[in-house]
Symmetry: C2
Subunit: 177 residues, 2 copies
């Protein structure tokens, strides 16, 4: 950030009065521009004991497998965002139920909230974001070719929840890698 989004003048990095952190503050109008973590929402969506994974058609991690997930938008709830991302990435209609994982990744200023979401039918399709979309039994999951560590820990917790009949979400912090 170099310029004030309110008035267009230059900003400086300084600790505002009464604050403890450096913020971008406008040299002219004094507006303080806070920057905060973003929320990523998604679903472990499943049909007939198989989970739906998408092969990424976009960077980062192009060609690797992920559950459908993406940035939460203004004006929607976590569940609405998770449902929207699932439809955008693999054209699957789902019912969004319990939280599976809540993962903080402080190094990249993100919080991931991933839900358990049964599919409403076995319809799904490739999209501009997914070059391949496929249902996997637990024994078929491509563990070595998953796109992110969040995908691995969430899928593992999903199957563990199933075995234990538990609905407790996994709440963890992940390091840079």
């Amino acid at each position: 950030m170099k310029y004030c989004s309110s008035c267009g003048c230059e900003v400086i990095l300084t600790v505002p009065e009464g604050d403890q952190r450096e913020r971008f503050v406008c040299r002219d109008c004094g507006d303080i521009h806070y920057q905060n973590p973003k929320v990523v929402v998604g679903c472990v969506t499943h049909w007939d004991n198989q989970v739906l994974l998408c092969r990424r058609a976009i960077e980062p991690r192009l060609g690797f497998w992920t559950m459908p997930a993406g940035f939460m938008e203004n004006g929607e709830s976590l569940k609405e965002g998770a449902q929207r991302e699932t439809f955008e990435e693999c054209a699957a209609e789902v019912e969004v139920k319990d939280l599976i994982s809540v993962i903080s990744i402080a190094s990249i200023n993100q919080v991931h909230c991933i839900f358990n979401a049964p599919m409403l039918s076995d319809n799904f399709a490739i999209t501009s974001e997914s070059s391949e979309v496929k249902l996997f039994h637990e024994s078929e999951i491509p563990w070595q070719d998953l796109a992110f560590r969040t995908v691995e820990v969430t899928l593992k917790h999903f199957f563990e929840q199933r075995r234990q009949g538990s609905h407790l979400p996994l709440v963890i912090d992940l390091g840079p890698h």
Copy 2:
């Protein structure tokens, strides 16, 4: 947002190619400025079967009671943020444990994540953000004078979890009011 924070030129509200939503896009450098929900983190912190509440010394809802909570910062995890906010608002040191509530408020673009956090000692104090800080038994909670609906539903779920010996968080969407 009127000006581009990268180059200082005017932005326009338009749907970028490949997107479905209006974004602020710079007329000159083309930078797209996304706006996303913010995360509020906090704690139901407790000592000897009593919960610690703060009387707000700042707007909004000045004079009403709340649990310690505030905006999550870049570079921290949910639990680190909840711990920091608790110390900033009532000078209490806590161990942050399970999630009590995960509340989406789409109308104001916020997600609240509130944790169960036992106090490490019975030390606490008023601060610049809290004009009064006090321990309450369940029967003493000032239900009519709570600052926000998120406080009410979270406290109710905390006591319900205790009665049931449950660790399941409340995951809900709240409307404007």
